[in-house]
């Protein structure tokens, strides 16, 4: 199971990113565990400055915007 973290200080885009990933994972029937991380100290430890950022199994795959559907599908299938 993929462990996905969305990093962001609670902005609207971060919520949308999380919802989008959940929706696509459901469509593809891929089991994921998704959490939102809003603590600035933790975000700093991942070295992220542009939010929202997507961390999958502790690897930073994306930051700075809501990712597009294709990218999300490729991460989930990988």
């Amino acid at each position: 199971m993929k462990n996905i973290k969305i990093l962001g200080t609670g902005c609207a885009k971060c919520t949308k990113t999380a919802e989008l990933i959940e929706k696509i994972a459901n469509e593809l029937s891929i089991a994921i565990q998704i959490t939102k991380e809003t603590n600035p100290e933790v975000i700093m430890e991942y070295g992220v400055m542009s939010t929202p950022a997507v961390i999958i199994n502790e690897v930073n795959v994306h930051s700075g915007s809501i990712p597009n559907t294709k990218a999300i599908e490729s991460w989930l299938k990988a």
Binding site: C11, V48, T51
Partner: protein, 330 residues
């Protein structure tokens, strides 16, 4: 080239709605239609054009560039990058920490963060089209000076003492490790990638600011049409000294971005409010806001927040006084 928007507004107000421009309502409506159509048009065209040019610019590259620069040029660079680098205000905390953990002094980081809301491409565009190039240039110089001097002042008083402890530790770590940065290298983008980026930027920024334009122009139109002619000129037109701090204080609880405030500036200046008072009011509305300060509390102690707040308020008051004094010569 902007007459077409004046004509469009006249046609709608006079021919379609059957109002006279001599009435208060007709006048206010004319102002509203002319400004919103003009601003919307400019926003769509210019955001796309600017985004196309700066597609490869981001906060990560700015940080890599600023790290290790000496302080003198650091403030100037920090402030310049603040003016041209896009980032959402909801990212200001991660940006602050990212800069800090790269060992960039607090003052340079704050030069970046103070200038950023004051100057951006949308603000410059609106100023140019509504208030002319002289005023625009003045606004840019003043906005950057606040960022540069503010940053230098914060370093001079050793503001890093008053960071939250985890941020202070990250700063110390960053300053001790010179090789700590993983630079991303220069990524060259194809035209298609640039076009996609620019298109997304255009839709995203427009989606975010259009309502501010409506609100700002609406208030400007209300001022324009319904405040009795000469009232502002008569009561505040001489740039009475108290009117500047009063304008700054009034701007604090009002929270807007530059996009919403510039149409109001236009209207106030046309009504005869002195330029310094107008600048002070608008900068305070844009740059000193409670929501932003509450966010900064996560990385700064109350003491530093209070210093920053007072610093901005005194800077805006000073700007107001200086420009009211100088305005006969501008």
């Amino acid at each position: 080239m902007f007459e077409i928007f004046t004509e469009l507004a006249t046609w709608l107000v006079v021919d379609v709605f059957g109002l006279s421009k001599a009435t208060k309502l007709g006048d206010a409506l004319h102002f509203f239609i002319e400004d919103t159509t003009k601003i919307f048009f400019l926003l769509l065209v210019m955001i796309y054009a600017i985004a196309l040019l700066r597609a490869s610019m981001n906060v990560e590259r700015v940080r890599d560039y600023l790290a290790g620069k000496n302080k003198g040029v650091g403030y100037l660079l920090g402030s310049s990058f603040g003016a041209i680098t896009p980032f959402c205000s909801c990212s200001s905390i991660p940006v602050f920490l990212g800069f800090t953990s790269a060992g960039i002094p607090v003052g340079i980081t704050m030069s970046f963060l103070i200038t950023s809301p004051l100057i951006n491409e949308v603000a410059i565009l609106l100023l140019l089209s509504l208030l002319g190039w002289k005023f625009t240039l003045l606004y840019i110089v003043v906005g950057m000076s606040v960022g540069i001097l503010g940053g230098a002042f914060l370093d001079a008083i050793k503001a890093e003492r008053w960071l939250q402890s985890f941020a202070a530790k990250a700063l110390a770590r960053g300053q001790n490790s010179s090789a700590g940065l993983q630079s991303q290298g220069i990524n060259t983008l194809s035209f298609k990638e640039r076009h996609n980026y620019a298109k997304n930027e255009m839709l995203e920024i427009f989606g975010r600011v259009w309502k501010w334009v409506i609100i700002g122009v609406g208030l400007g139109a209300a001022l324009h049409g319904f405040v009795p002619d000469g009232w502002i000129q008569q009561h505040l037109g001489d740039g009475q000294w108290w009117s500047v701090p009063a304008a700054v204080l009034l701007g604090i609880p009002l929270y807007s971005n530059a996009t919403g405030v510039i149409p109001i500036m236009e209207s106030l200046i046309k009504q005869g409010l002195p330029i310094g008072t107008t600048l002070a009011f608008c900068m305070s509305t844009v740059a000193a806001s409670f929501p932003e300060f509450i966010l900064l509390k996560q990385v700064m102690q109350w003491r530093l927040l209070a210093v920053l707040f007072l610093l901005l308020l005194s800077a805006f008051t000073l700007i107001g006084w200086i420009f009211n004094l100088l305005s006969p010569f501008i």
